[in-house]
């Protein structure tokens, strides 16, 4: 074995530049495994140098930067003094010993090999190291201390800092070691300033295997740097500590801040306040967390089962407020008798009015029209024709005089009678029924039906009829004394006339129709003119045709008001409507218009309405004059200015037969309540909005001809139909049905008693509103709370 010396100065004592020096060294290494390099500050000494069987370089002179740079396995470099920056730079296997200090950047990017420093190192030692698992981990041994920024971005290097004669005894690892460290291990002995980032490194003591590794390798290091004497003093386990890498997995488990928020709240925040910071502003305010989907008191809305709290359109728009919806429910339930009785408790004339003459306002707004067509209510009215009257309740010992036996007076009497109050009717005509009996043609109200209903009425206990009574002021005063209440229901029996020339030749519609229905109808010419083309005018026209007229002309000063079956009947018989026509005069030839036309006619009938005949009225009962006639003024309960006198029907203002029946019922209810000493309540339910219903549950079908058909088609607006859809749709199972005590009465109205209810469990309901969105009847509503 030979040792070759390579000199860093040439024969002239001039420094060999680093490039030439490297060539010389490389050349020498080919022939000799042991080189002594008398360097003179050359850089990159030992770079990428290897020799089969190993190579020993001893650096005797001053070394430049990057000693052992890119050192290869098997190469051993010993620098007999201190060295400059970046010793072991990108080292991949060389063993480099520096017998003095090393400056900055020692072992930067070293991937394998070992570097032994007998002194201390400068800043940024052991940075950017690597570790390829096919090789040993790189090692940096430092006897003294390190400068700042040690082991930054260290990936695999093992650093051992012994803390012997450190540059700064208070801090052997310098400021901020291990920033960005992702691997490797740091052993150190001595004090540090704990400025390492806790998210990158953790401070521990060596465990048994780590301590064993240190012991096994420490002697070798000390031997390399010729300090075996230190072994004993360095062999104190308690003096050694370690900085280990925090793995990303560990870091993910740490909260991103150094203290959990709950700990901060409990140990600092709450203590500083000594309680809730709002406790003075809002004592007891609960700010604790609730969920987004909540039940119970945390909901912003809650469902409410508003059964029968609104009125179905049929009930609302019917002047008598007949709850057709309830009646149809009873039919669906097979309670036919109750259904019939219920209707009779509203009107004594269901077949004649509901089933025949009434234009059925109830059905104008029937919700079923949203599906196909409204319920056929005439079928329902007619079916009650021959049903017996309900049994009256026990007598109350009161009596009421009713002046006028038309539909208004009849319903007053009927309602009072059923409630055990004696009702005495005083009628000026020789029959009861008013205009229904006197003027409605039999074509529109069949006699058989009418007679049946009149018979039922007359057979009812507590009703007494006095016919052919001419009312006078004296008689009226007498009745007031004799009876608890007097109800005026005289209607309008004074026809209006117009004082044009020849008006004495004109017949009034009232007289004409009354006669037409009697045994001695008036004769009519071939050509007939009816002045006033309303529905009564149409009735007149029909009767005129029946009595032999060939041409009937209805004239009006405005667009005719006639509608419905009356108009259709007149048109079907050939009646002509002419408007606007103003009558100039009536002659034997006919009617001369203001425009000078002559409409030929042998008979002229005027049909422009009737007004009340009130000559009997005492001054205590106030009237109002409208259109030249006096009408009695009343309040909601139909009480006049005289508190025991009521007025109902056309005498208040002209209306339909059903308006008269409705007024009669209301007035009677007021009297019954007053007699019983209880509060009278008017009908005050609001009509249910169409949008509250869910009509798409129903599909279009034939109207049908039976009561059962109608019952099946009814949408049961505002009245629960017990279909269980709410219970079915409720996503949380909050809704259930509950049976009620059998004698529980929901509203006190016949037929509306409820034996069940649906309830929503507050502890389950999340206020989704599905019940309200699904309920076919519009019962469930969502109320804010």
């Amino acid at each position: 074995m030979t040792t070759t010396v390579v000199k860093g100065l040439n024969e002239n004592g001039i420094r060999v530049n680093s490039m030439d020096f490297e060539k010389l060294v490389r050349q020498s290494a080919k022939s000799s495994p042991d080189l002594i390099l008398e360097s003179y500050g050359q850089h990159n000494i030992g770079i990428r140098l290897e020799r089969e069987g190993g190579l020993n370089l001893t650096v005797k002179g001053p070394s430049g930067q990057r000693l052992g740079c890119m050192g290869m396995p098997g190469t051993v470099i010993t620098c007999e003094g201190a060295t400059s920056d970046d010793v072991g730079y990108l080292n991949i296997g060389a063993e480099i010993t520096v017998l003095g200090d090393a400056t900055n950047g020692a072992c930067n990017a070293m991937a394998n090999g070992k570097v032994f420093i007998a002194g201390s190192i400068g800043a940024r030692g052991l940075t950017m190291t690597k570790w390829n698992p096919n090789y040993e981990k790189p090692e940096l041994w430092v006897l003294g201390s390190t400068g700042d920024s040690f082991a930054e971005f260290n990936c695999g290097g093992i650093g051992i800092v012994c803390g012997i004669d450190p540059k700064n005894p208070d801090n052997v690892l310098g400021y901020r070691p291990c920033v960005g460290m992702v691997g490797g291990t740091i052993y150190f002995r001595g004090d540090i300033d704990n400025s390492f980032p806790e998210t990158n490194a953790k401070l521990t003591d060596p465990d048994d295997s780590q301590w064993q590794w240190l012991q096994e390798n420490l002697a070798g290091f000390l031997k390399r740097i010729n300090r075996p004497d230190l072994l004993k003093s360095l062999n104190v386990r308690e003096e050694w500590h370690m900085l280990l890498t925090v793995t990303p997995q560990e870091r993910a488990l740490m909260w991103s801040g150094p203290m959990p928020m709950a700990e901060f709240r409990n140990n600092h925040w709450n203590k500083a306040f000594g309680g809730d910071p709002l406790r003075d502003l809002a004592p007891g305010l609960d700010r604790s967390l609730i969920d987004t989907i909540v039940t119970g008191e945390f909901r912003r809305k809650k469902p409410y089962w508003a059964n029968c709290e609104s009125a179905a359109p049929c009930t609302y728009y019917c002047p008598i407020h007949i709850p057709t919806v309830d009646r149809l429910r009873l039919i669906r339930e097979g309670r036919i008798d109750e259904a019939y009785e219920m209707l009779l408790r509203y009107t004594p004339l269901p077949a004649s009015v509901c089933g025949a003459v009434c234009p059925n306002l109830c059905m104008d707004n029937c919700s079923r029209q949203g599906v196909d067509d409204s319920i056929d209510v005439q079928v329902l009215g007619q079916s009650v024709n021959s049903i017996k009257a309900p049994v009256p309740t026990d007598p109350l010992g009161k009596k009421v005089a009713i002046i006028g036996g038309g539909p208004a007076g009849m319903n007053v009497a009927w309602q009072l009678a059923l409630n055990g109050i004696q009702a005495d009717i005083f009628e000026q005509d020789s029959q009861i029924g008013g205009k229904l009996a006197q003027v409605i043609p039999w074509e529109r109200l069949s006699q058989a039906i009418w007679d049946q209903e009149i018979k039922r009425f007359l057979d009812t206990p507590n009703i007494n009829i006095n016919l052919d009574v001419a009312m006078t002021t004296e008689k009226f005063t007498e009745l007031q004394k004799e009876y608890d209440y007097v109800v005026i229901a005289v209607g309008t029996h004074e026809p209006r006339r117009i004082p044009f020339p020849g008006n004495d030749k004109v017949i009034t519609a009232l007289d004409f129709l009354k006669a037409a229905k009697s045994d001695s109808p008036m004769e009519v010419g071939k050509e007939v003119i009816v002045i006033g083309a309303g529905n009564v005018g149409c009735d007149v026209a029909c009767e005129a045709y029946r009595l032999g007229a060939e041409k009937v002309t209805l004239i009006d000063i405005q667009k005719p008001l006639a509608f419905g079956q009356e108009k259709e009947a007149a048109e079907a018989l050939g009646a002509q409507f002419r408007w606007p026509v103003i009558t100039e005069k009536v002659t034997d030839e006919g009617l001369l218009t203001k425009d000078g036309d002559l409409i030929p006619a042998q008979t002229v009938i005027i049909s422009i309405g009737d007004v009340p005949a009130l000559s009997f009225l005492p001054e205590t009962v106030e009237t109002i004059t409208v259109g030249g006639a006096s009408w009695i003024t009343t309040d909601k309960a139909h009480v006049t200015s005289s508190d025991k006198v009521l007025a109902v029907g056309d005498v208040e203002k002209p209306g339909l037969a059903t308006n008269a029946l409705g007024a009669g019922k209301t007035a009677a209810e007021y009297i019954v309540a007053a007699c019983k000493g209880i509060d009278w309540k008017p009908f005050e339910k609001e009509v249910i909005p169409q949008l509250a219903l869910t009509i798409t549950h129903y599909v279009p079908e034939e109207i049908g001809t039976t009561e059962q058909n109608q019952a099946d088609r009814c949408l049961s607006c505002a009245a629960c139909r017990d279909c269980h859809l709410c219970e079915t749709i409720c996503p949380t199972g909050a809704i259930s049905r509950r049976d009620l005590e059998s004698n529980f009465l929901q509203s006190g109205q016949p037929g509306s008693e409820n034996s069940y209810e649906y309830i929503s469990d507050d502890t389950k309901c999340i206020a989704c509103g599905f019940c309200a969105d699904t309920c076919p009847c519009g019962i469930w509503t969502m109320n804010a709370f």
Partner: protein
């Protein structure tokens, strides 16, 4: 098909495609759990039962007629009161991804009907202008590469605070130091301040969550974040707590809550960070504050000293304002005196072409501690839409002009300017803030961004949600209804405040390090800025780059 809720067509009738947000519901995925309709803040959606007619159209069959198919779906209402606001709560609670609100692509017809009963639309949020803002487009160009040592944001230590308060010139400072004169108070604070959002505009859980987060930033993270109360007072226990030092108390023309503040002064453990006198707000300049009656709960009424359930407008101007000179002078002096001249007092104004006049006035006012300028993109809890969208001045050129004016007088280091309005509008909070700082701001205030980042505020510039004014905030951020604000966990808000400021801090370092700055904020360092827009570059006196 027949809808359960078919309505008649009126002049105000709208259909789905007319609405700003359209509910898309997939019946094939819906499990009818009811959570979407339960959570919807607007009752905009409901369960719909629909019926489809299926005619029997078989040529060879003699039987005619129709069959019917009934089905259900979640549908939206088209009435103005119940039109979808796009908050997306329905999607958030849907277990099956069956429902989502998507922006309508048709023109927004509701705009034409947001004037019911003659009252124009009011809302919360920010100017509804989408897309990249000018601040977003500013680049930091002057990178220290090999010319001078670049810095490493992860390794180097940075000083990131800014000075709030009047800094005396060295001569004056020395003179007063020696002769015992008054030295104006200053605070070293983190340059990103949580802007003024009142206790009232924000729910109790949100407001306290923010303060808890701010306290955490200061005491645990060492980031000296401060927050401004806005005009609504401060809970009395907070005034007497050690956390008051992180709070800028705002006083404005409504003077809400100031009786409690004055009452607390003798018992304060520490001074507040500063006093902000609000003269204007960027979102609605020339218009006053507004807390609508929906939000004046018992708690808020008690704190503000007003009746419950009333509208609380602050007038656009202070009732005692007769001139800038006079009003600003007396307000600043009064408030400075109230805190024994130990708390910085500064005014907040909306950005405007007259901002420079105010600034120059303040330069001559020895008590003025700074100026806060709020630009048109600022947020608000309640304002008229027209004020939000169309009234105001962008903050960038206003700040730049003011700063250059100070620089021309050599005063740029003596009176700080703070900027606000749209910072972080598109999420680029650190970049936006640093751009403004380099244009001349000493720091920035962020409000809406904080609500979005820390509490998940759903509002955006597509007018999503933006119902802060009516107190139905589905996240519980701006509601005074405990059924809503108890959804919000103050601890989580506080954690997000910490996350947000840690992250801003890192990003600020990432911006400063390449510029070679670490020891002071690059206030006014406009030579580092560039923009690929010649006009903007010229106006802002920064480099045009492309």
């Amino acid at each position: 098909m027949v809808s359960t809720r078919s309505i008649s067509v009126t002049p105000g009738s709208l259909t789905y495609s007319d609405l700003p947000w359209i509910i898309e519901h997939r019946e094939d995925r819906c499990t009818l759990c009811g959570q979407c309709t339960s959570v919807c803040p607007k009752e905009a959606i409901h369960l719909s039962h629909m019926r489809q007619r299926v005619p029997k159209l078989d040529v060879f069959s003699k039987k005619r007629g129709s069959n019917y198919r009934n089905f259900t779906g979640i549908r939206q209402r088209t009435t103005m009161a119940n039109s979808c606001i796009g908050c997306g709560m329905c999607s958030m609670v849907c277990p099956n991804d069956a429902i989502i609100a998507v922006p309508g692509t048709n023109e927004n017809r509701t705009l034409f009907f947001e004037n019911q009963k003659g009252e124009p639309n009011k809302r919360g949020g920010r100017r509804n202008v989408q897309g990249t803002t000018l601040l977003d487009r500013i680049m930091f160009n002057r990178i220290s590469m090999l010319t001078d040592p670049a810095l490493d944001a992860g390794r180097h230590e940075f000083s990131l605070t800014t000075t709030l308060g009047r800094v005396l010139s060295p001569e004056v400072f020395l003179d007063r130091k020696i002769n015992g004169g008054w030295i104006p108070p200053t605070r070293e604070i983190f340059p990103f301040v949580i802007g003024s959002m009142s206790f009232g505009a924000l729910s109790p859980n949100m407001w306290l969550g923010l303060l808890q987060g701010v306290a955490y930033c200061n005491e645990v993270l060492g980031i000296p974040v401060v927050m401004c109360t806005g005009e609504g007072g401060c809970p009395p226990w907070v005034l007497r707590s050690p956390y008051l030092k992180y709070i800028i108390l705002q006083i404005a023309s409504g003077y809400f809550g100031w009786d409690e503040i004055i009452r607390a002064i003798p018992e304060m453990q520490c001074d507040p960070a500063a006093i902000e006198i609000k003269y204007g707000q960027g979102a609605k300049p020339g218009d006053g504050g507004l807390l609508m009656w929906y939000k004046v709960s018992k708690l808020i009424a008690r704190l503000r000293g007003v009746p419950e359930g009333v509208d609380l407008p602050s007038p656009p101007v202070h009732q005692t304002l007769y001139s800038i000179e006079e009003s600003v002078m007396k307000m600043i002096q009064t408030l400075s005196t109230a805190f024994n001249h130990k708390v910085p007092v500064y005014p907040k104004i909306s950005a405007s072409t007259s901002a420079k006049s105010v600034l120059n006035n303040l330069v001559r006012n020895p008590y003025a501690a700074g100026l806060m300028i709020d630009g048109i993109d600022g947020g608000t809890g309640a304002a008229y839409n027209v004020s939000l969208d169309a009234t105001g001045h962008p903050v960038a050129s206003c700040i730049r002009e003011c700063y250059l004016d100070l620089a021309a007088q050599g005063m740029q280091n003596e009176i700080p300017i703070f900027a606000a309005g749209g910072i972080g509008k598109n999420g680029n909070v650190a970049q936006n803030g640093m751009a403004l700082i380099m244009l001349g701001a000493s720091g920035v205030h962020i409000g809406k961004y904080i609500m979005q980042a820390t509490a998940g505020c759903l509002g955006n510039e597509k007018n999503r949600c933006n119902v802060c004014n009516v107190g139905i905030c589905p996240k519980g951020i701006t509601s005074q209804n405990p059924k809503l604000y108890r959804r919000l966990d103050p601890d989580l808000v506080a954690e997000r405040v910490a996350d947000t400021f840690m992250s801003i801090k890192t990003e600020v370092k990432k911006i400063m390090a390449p510029l070679g700055r670490s020891q002071s904020l690059p206030i006014g360092m406009a030579d580092a800025l560039g923009i690929a827009d010649k006009d903007a570059a010229e106006r802002l006196e920064i480099k045009y780059v492309c």
